[in-house]
């Protein structure tokens, strides 16, 4: 399924709007990664474990959103947005939302 974060699908006409679709996931870091990150904190630089963790959870949120759009019979999801909020210490919620539409 094609996703964009602009208001339209270029070159295609939107024939039907299905409204908002969303997918979210709340992830906690696991201890091993937190420990490695603690060491990395001394010298700075990228914390690869966290980067991967957040990418995985963003992919999960996106696939939930796409599943919802597919159930509605949409083909692309336009105007996709991502937000992150921390729910508790060490746990964060990743939300992906967008507008499910049908194009010709």
């Amino acid at each position: 399924m094609i996703l964009t974060n602009i208001d339209s699908m270029p070159g295609q006409r939107i024939v039907q709007h299905f409204g908002l679709v969303q997918g979210s996931t709340i992830r906690a870091k696991h201890f091993g990664r937190d420990f490695a990150a603690g060491l990395k904190n001394i010298v700075g630089g990228e914390l690869k474990g966290y980067t991967e963790l957040l990418q995985e959870s963003r992919a999960e949120a996106t696939s939930r959103m796409v599943a919802q759009a597919r159930d509605l019979g949409a083909n692309p999801v336009i105007n996709v947005r991502f937000t992150t909020s921390s729910v508790a210490q060490g746990a964060s919620e990743i939300l992906a939302y967008g507008t499910a539409v049908l194009v010709e």
Partner: protein, 157 residues
């Protein structure tokens, strides 16, 4: 007693020195890598506007994302502690944020390297907190996402 005192001072000082030496070398390497890769994407701009440049000439569009989690070193964390007392601009963190943003935009571009432009690029920054409390200070995640577009015409417009 005095040995205990010595150790309790020596360990933080050691961490700060290690952070200063290794941290600045990591930062230099990162800047070099960023500049090198940015040069490669010259002519494939990330735009914050929704309108693609030659209107109506877009062949395909799809979402591109890139993210990075970056942390400051102990030395800069230590410096920023002083800044928290006196107030003012925290310069030691500005290079962290700048590097993270540029890196995230580059990763967004690298996820779809053959696109002609990346329109409606958004940057989102969030802080990473640690389960144990204060340790996560100075760790941020930057997400860059936008719509990678291919124009019908050649790249030269």
């Amino acid at each position: 007693m005095s040995i205990e005192l010595l150790i309790s001072i020596a360990i933080p000082v050691f961490l700060i020195v290690v952070g200063r030496v290794v941290g600045s070398s990591i930062e230099r390497k990162h800047y070099a890598s960023i500049e090198d890769r940015e040069a490669r994407f010259h002519g494939q701009p990330a735009l914050s506007t929704k309108q693609s440049d030659p209107p109506g000439a877009v062949r395909s569009a799809s979402l591109a994302t890139g993210s990075v989690v970056l942390s400051v070193d102990h030395f800069k964390r230590f410096l920023s502690g002083f800044r928290m007392i006196f107030g003012g601009e925290v310069r030691s963190y500005s290079s962290l944020i700048e590097r993270a943003r540029r890196e995230a935009v580059l990763r967004m571009k690298e996820s779809q390297p053959d696109a002609h432009a990346y329109i409606n690029t958004r940057l989102e920054t969030s802080t990473i907190s640690s389960t144990t409390g204060n340790e996560g200070i100075g760790t941020i995640e930057v997400l860059a996402y936008g719509t990678a577009v291919h124009y019908d015409r050649a790249k030269g417009r």
